[in-house]
Symmetry: C2
Subunit: 469 residues, 2 copies
Amino acid sequence: MAKRPVLTPQSEDFPRWYQDVINKAELADNGPVRGTMVIRPYGYGLWERMQSEMDDRIKACGAENAYFPLFIPESYLTKEAEHVEGFSPELAVVTHAGGKDLEERVVVRPTSETVIGEFMAKWTQSYRDLPLLLNQWANVVRWELRPRTFLRTTEFLWQEGHTAHATREDANVYARRILHEAYADFMVNVLAMPLHLGIKPSYDRFAGAINTMACEAMMRDGKALQMGTSHELGQNFANAFDITYQSVEGVQETVWTTSWGTSTRMIGGLIMCHGDDKGLRVPPALAHIQAAVLLIRDEDGAGEVASKLHDELVEAGVRSRLDAQVDTPFGRRATDWELKGVPVRVEIGPRDVAENKVTIVRRDTGEKQPVGIDIAAATIRGLMEEIQITLHDEALAFRDANTAEASTVAEALEAAKTGFATVPWSVVADAEKELAADAVTVRCIQRADGTVPDDEDEDDLVAICARAY
Amino acid sequence: MAKRPVLTPQSEDFPRWYQDVINKAELADNGPVRGTMVIRPYGYGLWERMQSEMDDRIKACGAENAYFPLFIPESYLTKEAEHVEGFSPELAVVTHAGGKDLEERVVVRPTSETVIGEFMAKWTQSYRDLPLLLNQWANVVRWELRPRTFLRTTEFLWQEGHTAHATREDANVYARRILHEAYADFMVNVLAMPLHLGIKPSYDRFAGAINTMACEAMMRDGKALQMGTSHELGQNFANAFDITYQSVEGVQETVWTTSWGTSTRMIGGLIMCHGDDKGLRVPPALAHIQAAVLLIRDEDGAGEVASKLHDELVEAGVRSRLDAQVDTPFGRRATDWELKGVPVRVEIGPRDVAENKVTIVRRDTGEKQPVGIDIAAATIRGLMEEIQITLHDEALAFRDANTAEASTVAEALEAAKTGFATVPWSVVADAEKELAADAVTVRCIQRADGTVPDDEDEDDLVAICARAY
């Protein structure tokens, strides 16, 4: 008789499967204030690894971290016209503090363009101060009417980069460098997620940007998720905040700025790109726990063997966790590690020890294999790269299988019911409303070879159309 | 003719010297909303290193990081009576969000005891779930009437640990473990700051605690700064939030909780413990830039030599920064690195290259020495440990020289005019108001041998009295 599954199957109800994974893998809980979330230790461990890998790449691109205040005077938001229009409906406002009503209301940052603009104006005096390359890891707040854990929450954690450059060309190059070297490199090589990179249609840019570039990934229900964006802000914020500098020739010039961000939303993308009916599947390059060493019963020396293998794994550079909680039933623990998507599970009990072996279970394929104790650590270490590749290739094959070429709006709408449509940009350029009526959007615009175009007016561009989170 | 100093001398006006260092070393700026701060890249670099070193130690104590929401329903705060009384005057309140007035007002967390209490109640079902050891890195808000950068700001960054235990004994041991193994170990060995550890008088505990332990350091004006605290919360929050578990015997029991925190205030402590009239002095173990390699003029191969030495230093594990900004005058750059307190400055110009040497300048002693290029990297690496020890020993000697034994309240008040007074606790136990009239407080209570007592009723305890930040 089949057991009732721990999770709602993906095919039955994908959104419910997603919420089940979040609960059962102990990734997050809903916070007490509408739309907020509590990120539990296992979920936060994923985020810490994302931060660390991203931070290395951002620093390699030359940016330095800084911290700007949570509270922004309401008047700042109104300085850039499109920006205030974009964010007004989502703002949380502090009106009362220190026991008194405030004279000027203060907004909780929805993003930091404005306050950073104010300080860039102070800090960029001379051409010597450029480029100014800043990044911030912080929480931001956007009041959500239809919250969804990790994907759309009232408060979320993110990094926001903000840079100022002497020329438009330099800003353009930098925004692209971040897109490729920080974002795509991390998402493809660490998260094992295949991406479409491209520009957003002009009607769908960030509030105040002259160009928005995005990383788009396919989830296992065929929908798209925007994993990160990099914006050229032109001189819009520079003019609004008077960010100028003295050039080599002694002339006062206005800077060009960029901003770029990724957030805890990536955790949602990770779940929905790799997860299966047994739970999350975490790529080894990301996993903060790469191998769980499970002691079945602490008898006949099994405890010592488990503990020794754990030490060997750590020694070999594998992020191992020893699970010797033998007063919790073994089956339940095995299911828990499966739910959590740890790449490799090692099972060790008295019978294994007697046979001088351990049992290795791969989370990606479900494959179980007995392995001699003496080669267990080396075998597991070798599996890390293999599982990483398998997960990436599986996601890529899934995306390919669920992508159709379309040559009309009608065909694009049909394809977007189950996956992505690639369609000539010229066909859908004026079809925003027609697509939207079916909840379909242009996720990004690419060149035919998949590279990122300079603008939407180039010839022979392709639009990736899909429903999206 | 003496040049006008870059900084106000410490002896002339210590608070102004402090503010000068913050500005000139580009550590922070005031934010636009009263009492908030912008942490600039150099200041944030110090904080990142503090985070990293602390995080390692906290994890070694078994705690895991998690993230709880910024927004807390106002009703939560009122559940623990002393807690709400302690924080009410400092709260920032969101009354309006998403374009509407809120039904229940929401406070911006001043600390997360209450919201974490709520979730601990969900997560601790069985004795198997204990101890529950959580830590959070986050921003918190306490509306400040007299803000001071890093020391008292309306928003600050911190870590707050929150743990739940089966017994009072276990909670007590863990709160002490954090105090010693995470906090004191970091502050003494990385920040090079000598500490007094002890308990707070009962009238000066954290709001809701049954015991507060603190790390107290002496600043160079003789005042004390509290660098971190670790609290036993008894069952106050557990009762208020109904945090119970089923024991091994199947009985429903109430947990014992602790909380502990350190913040960006430590940056203020670092400045005032080690800084001198030339600026900050950063201990090498902390410094994110341990050596600045200054190219004087890019002539006769000096550029290549500087760049090569920088690479060698990185190779040798020294956190080096190459400064080849030769279009900024050399003297100004040298002063800037001095202001920033980088432990070692290396000066390389065409004349040095001709003589096959470089000039090494120690920030702690100001000593300048020519060193052969071939042994430069090894010499600098060796200096790291030496400078670390020198800074610590200097701070300790300063503290000893400015600490007096007192046997009466009057003597304690006299000594506290310029430094610390050690006085029998029995002498000052009832003198809170008398001390306070002179702005003096009991910083902590210790045993005669400097260890941390169990409570203030032990015999022969000593009180450290001082004025404080």
